[in-house]
């Protein structure tokens, strides 16, 4: 099955800073999602982005499927952005969403 690697594993920012989170996958994927897990444990669906670029407010994501990576951009970070960011991919022919180990983001006031 596919392997999903995320970097960096931990990131500490001051409020207002920008950041880029990266997700590499070992094989082509048909479905690439980014999630934010808040401190209460809920996984919030950020982007469904098999390819291309999408933007939602201060967040945007880009997936380059041919090069097997995806990036999540967070601009003007806020303390409420803290939590763990997961990317997950679905390999062709499989129903199983494979998660990376996550990036733990801490935004300090």
């Amino acid at each position: 099955g596919i392997q999903v690697e995320q970097s960096p594993p931990d990131l500490i920012l001051q409020e207002g800073a920008n950041s880029t989170l990266r997700c590499n996958f070992s094989d082509s994927v048909n479905n690439l999602q980014w999630f934010h897990q808040n401190p209460w444990g809920q996984l919030i669906n950020l982007f469904y982005i098999p390819s291309g670029t999408k933007q939602n407010g201060r967040l945007s994501a880009t997936t380059v499927a041919t090069e097997r990576y995806s990036l999540l951009y967070i601009s003007s970070s806020q303390t409420t952005d803290s939590g763990v960011y997961f990317c997950a991919g679905l390999q062709g022919g499989s129903e199983k969403l494979v998660f990376g180990k996550g990036t733990k983001l801490t935004v300090n006031p």
Binding site: N31, Q33, G41, Q42, L43, N45, Y48, K101
Partner: protein, 112 residues
Amino acid sequence: DAMVIQNPRYQVTQFGKPVTLSCSQTLNHNVMYWYQQKSSQAPKLLFHYYDKDFNNEADTPDNFQSRRPNTSFCFLDIRSPGLGDAAMYLCATSLILGMDQYFGPGTRLLVL
């Protein structure tokens, strides 16, 4: 608002005492999933239902069972919880296989 609902949010059970976690959805999605997430780890898929078709992951212990009585509801039964089963249990849905998944708030299970 359409959503995925899990009850209870916190569940305490005793070692070996059967426990049932529930999930309901108002999205009218065909697929429902159960994940287990232990501390500082990524979610791990236990099984999923596509309509009434049940699909078990090969490494899911027999101690874990699931029921889907109708489109809206899905249950996770742990027949004899062990201390190692303490975790967050997440329910998710998708319209069809391969589409984006939407997660509920999770049930945190504590085994004493």
